[in-house]
């Protein structure tokens, strides 16, 4: 360390923040220098998002100090932080877009708050301004479409585009790629590097270690609200994982070393549970056949809008079947409603947590039992005891960390919420379990837990949809790749490498 070190853009010292008895931040000290991309990682509930909320002025710390460019920094609100050059993309993207407004209006949301902006605004002016923001971020979205009609990935890109469009000293990205597929993630990485090259300090949160490895100059590991280790490049994944998960690191270590070949041999023998003939992933796509076997995990992958969700929702009764027909254990199966699917033994865990799974203010317990209310009631009356037992089971199985089964689910960290809303479907004891992007925001340890539970669940057939080939490779016995609503290829686990999948996903040959 002989080169002159530039003074840090942001320096945090002794930062603490508690929620009731939970110490989300417990004396965090760290700094980020100009031009540096600092990775911030940690298990679910480690306190990453809380730290980011404090830095962005959304939450006030209970102790500690922050300096920005050497000056004390205590933002009274998000506007203060923005004005000081701290630009943030929060983890929950639905906290970033306004439903009922158009894409253009969402892209220009920040200009409303800006002081000295023009008071008079016309749709044309908003469109022009939004066009500029979109172009700077390389986005091609229908500006006049209501934002709620866009898929989650596009919404996430809107939020990112907004942050990139503002003048930044410190750019904070909290799991920005959770809904993006490889191509978009790569594009984002390029933009982040460019920003860093221009002297901006970047704080980057992700559970995708590969991304962290390739992007970050330094990795700060948070555990239980404290900084445990700081790694500088070159990064060693095993050490990072161990620092993240502490004593629980051992069972996780072989995650990406899990031998696909060993799976491939073992798991193709079960009887067909669900067979589909002539189905389409999206209305314009090519029809194809599909069968799911007992004990098998089928991975479905593809780019944004390739039809993964469309396919799973049709199988799960959440959307009418476009074409073709299905049989479940030999009997005709055409669910008109998710209820019918659940009754037949097909469970669909939806993709978007906050829009499709979370009921605001409800406890963890109530979330766990919502799909299986009938099982927890006698003569229509609910049994609290049975519900609590179920919540405990799910929490224990997936290592949910948080203030307990009766706490509102919002008080859990993002990843822990995800474990609850995915894990609850196992309570329905389905024959077919459809998981749409189940690993969003889930740390590597928990990802392995979910994967293990899913594959140990005996005779169940499982479908996992994900736009991240890495995740698919880790969990699937067989992979279906979709491209623009049509099947682009099918690979056995042994043949599926992230590289081959990526090639198929983008429409090329494997």
């Amino acid at each position: 360390m002989t080169a002159p070190v530039p003074p840090p853009v942001v320096a945090v010292s002794g930062l603490a923040r508690s929620y009731g008895a939970t110490r989300a931040l417990d004396g965090v000290t760290l700094e980020v220098r100009p031009g540096e991309i600092a990775g911030l990682i940690g298990a679910n509930g480690a306190g990453k998002s809380t730290l980011i909320k404090v830095l962005s002025g959304a939450v006030r710390p209970s102790a500690g100090t922050i300096t920005l460019d050497g000056r004390p920094f205590a933002p009274a609100g998000p506007l203060d932080a923005q004005a000081a050059g701290v630009q943030t993309v929060h983890q929950n993207i639905d906290d970033g877009v306004v439903f009922g407004a158009t894409v253009a209006e969402n892209l220009t949301l920040d200009s409303i708050a800006r002081r000295g902006g023009r008071w008079f605004s016309t749709p044309a002016r908003i469109r022009a301004e939004a066009g500029a923001v979109a172009e700077a971020a390389g986005l091609a979205l229908p500006l006049d479409a209501p934002v709620e009609t866009l898929p989650a990935g596009a919404r996430q890109q809107i939020v990112i585009a907004r942050a990139l469009a503002r003048r930044a000293r410190l750019l904070i990205l909290d799991e920005p790629t959770s809904t993006l597929s490889a191509a978009e993630a790569d594009a984002l990485a390029r933009k982040v590097r460019r920003a860093a090259a221009s002297g901006v300090a970047v704080l980057y949160v992700s559970h995708r270690l590969a991304e962290i490895e390739s992007l970050c100059d330094r990795v700060i590991v948070l555990r239980d609200g404290r900084v445990r280790r700081v790694f500088t490049a070159p990064l060693r994944r095993a050490a990072i994982v161990e620092a993240m998960l502490g004593e629980f690191a051992a069972p996780v270590a072989p995650v990406d070393a899990a031998a696909p070949a060993d799976r491939a041999g073992r798991r193709t023998v079960g009887a067909a549970v669900l067979t589909a003939a002539g189905v389409r992933a999206a209305p314009g796509g090519t029809p194809f056949d599909l069968d799911l076997r007992e004990g098998e995990v089928l991975g479905v992958t593809g780019l944004l809008g390739s039809g993964k969700t469309g396919l799973l929702q049709q199988l799960g009764g959440a959307r009418p079947l476009v074409s073709g027909e299905m049989r479940l254990c030999g009997a005709p199966y055409r669910p008109a409603h998710p209820r019918a699917a659940i009754a037949a033994g097909v469970a669909y865990a939806a993709e978007e947590r906050s829009a499709q799974a979370i009921v605001p203010g409800w406890s963890v317990r109530a979330h766990v039992t919502l799909p299986t209310l009938r099982a927890h009631s006698r003569a229509g009356l609910l049994s609290r005891r049975s519900e609590t037992a179920a919540a405990r089971r799910v929490s224990a199985r997936f290592g949910v960390k948080g203030p307990g089964a009766e706490a509102p689910i919002e008080t859990l960290s993002g990843g822990n919420q995800q474990k609850v809303v995915v894990g609850r479907w196992l309570e329905a004891a389905p024959r077919v379990l459809l998981l749409d992007e189940p690993f969003r925001g889930v740390d590597v340890g928990a990802r392995a837990d979910i994967g293990r539970v899913v594959r140990e669940a005996g005779t169940m057939a499982v479908v996992v949809a994900s736009s991240d080939p890495q995740e698919i490779v880790e969990v699937a016995d067989r992979v279906l790749v979709l491209h623009e609503g049509s099947p682009a290829g099918e690979l056995r686990a042994a043949e599926a490498t992230p590289e081959r999948l990526a090639a198929l996903m983008s429409g090329g040959a494997a």
């Binding site: 929620y19 829009a355 009938r374």
Partner: protein, 350 residues
């Protein structure tokens, strides 16, 4: 206790503050019921006649019709709906039952059935509009409200229906039957029938909303309809159920009101919309629920009933009653909501 770690906004939780916090949480949960008890105590001291069993029954009877409507409105609110047509439904049922007995000389039983069917008809229109045609609840039920207010008037050419009224030159043949009148004026033991009905329905709605899986489903829809749907809840059916319960409650209230009035009074239902909505809304703040709930609605209805009855007994002029009602309500709300544990921490309100 050191000052560290508490510099922030989350005062109400740690260390020394815990006793205070517990008190605040209690005030939040029990603020309105406590206020209700205090009001009863004060009125009873100032006016011994207030605190008698006989008077308690009168107060209960005075809130029973409103209370029953409010229970229905509460159910309609759980799914995120809002039944603006409840008052009009009460009015229409009053007219229909009166017409059935007075004009068409039917039995009390038939009148009751006709009244309940009217409630179902209102519910049906609401369901068609909100669930089938997907009109937003407030707008749809506003339309239904006008429709049935108008219908109740048109049925009788804008006139009230009373025994002995002239129909086409001849006096109307029928009158209110004894049995029907008993629903309004009779009693079971010492308990007036409307009070018993209110108690029974309150219990039923309580069990439905807070102890049954159907109630859980209703609240889930109100919280996040898409999440409810994907969890396998048939949203349309439950939304219809909510309006049916609301319509039936309003019909029961209309039947009791008709029996109490002994005639089909034009516009008899009108005051019940605002009062029942008020009771249900006051109920939001009860027991820290911050959502529509059955015990809250009962407390809300009692709150208004006790206040008005007590003030009347103290000979307060009518125009002071509204003000005191407002002041008490505002006070209770402020206490309830500002003392919510942890509310002050960052929230969308800032």
């Amino acid at each position: 206790m050191t000052a560290t770690g508490t510099a922030g906004t989350d005062r109400a939780r740690h260390g020394t503050a815990s006793a205070g916090a517990r008190a605040a949480a209690t005030a939040y949960r029990y603020g309105l019921p406590a206020l209700l008890v205090a009001m009863v105590a004060i009125f009873s001291i100032l006016r011994p006649a207030f605190g008698t069993y006989a008077n308690a029954l009168i107060v209960l009877q005075s809130v029973s019709v409103v209370g029953v409507v409010a229970l229905g409105v509460t159910v309609s609110m759980t799914t995120g709906g809002f039944d603006l047509s409840a008052g009009a439904c009460v009015g229409a049922v009053v007219m229909v039952t009166a017409l059935a007995m007075v004009r068409f000389n039917l039995t009390g039983g038939t009148a009751i059935v006709a009244g309940l069917l009217t409630g179902l008809l209102v519910a049906g229109v609401n369901v068609l509009l909100t669930v089938v045609a997907r009109v937003p609840d407030l707008v749809a039920t506003l339309g239904t409200m006008f429709l049935f207010q108008g219908l109740a008037l048109i049925l009788t050419g804008g006139q009230s229906v009373a025994a002995g009224m002239t129909v086409d030159g001849a006096p109307a043949p029928g009158r209110y039957t004894e049995g029907f009148a008993w629903l309004g004026g009779g009693s079971i033991g010492t308990v007036p029938v409307p009070v018993a009905v209110f108690a029974l329905l309150a219990l039923a709605v309580y069990v439905l909303l807070h102890r049954s899986r159907w109630g859980r489903a209703l609240y889930a829809i109100g919280g996040n309809a898409e999440a409810a749907r994907l969890a396998g809840i048939r949203v349309a059916r439950y939304r219809a159920l909510a309006y049916v319960v609301s319509g039936l409650c309003a019909a029961v209230a209309g039947i009791m009101l008709s029996a109490r009035l002994g005639r089909g009074d034009v516009g008899a239902g009108d005051p019940y919309l605002l009062q029942s909505v008020a009771a249900a809304l006051i109920g939001y703040a009860v027991l820290g629920a911050n959502r529509p709930n059955a015990p809250g609605t009962v407390v809300g209805a009692l709150f208004i009933g006790v206040m008005i009855n007590g003030m009347t007994m103290l000979n307060a002029p009518y125009y002071a009653q509204t003000f005191v009602q407002g002041a008490l309500l505002v006070g209770a709300l402020v206490v309830s909501y500002t003392l919510t544990p942890g509310r002050r921490a960052a929230g969308p309100g800032r």
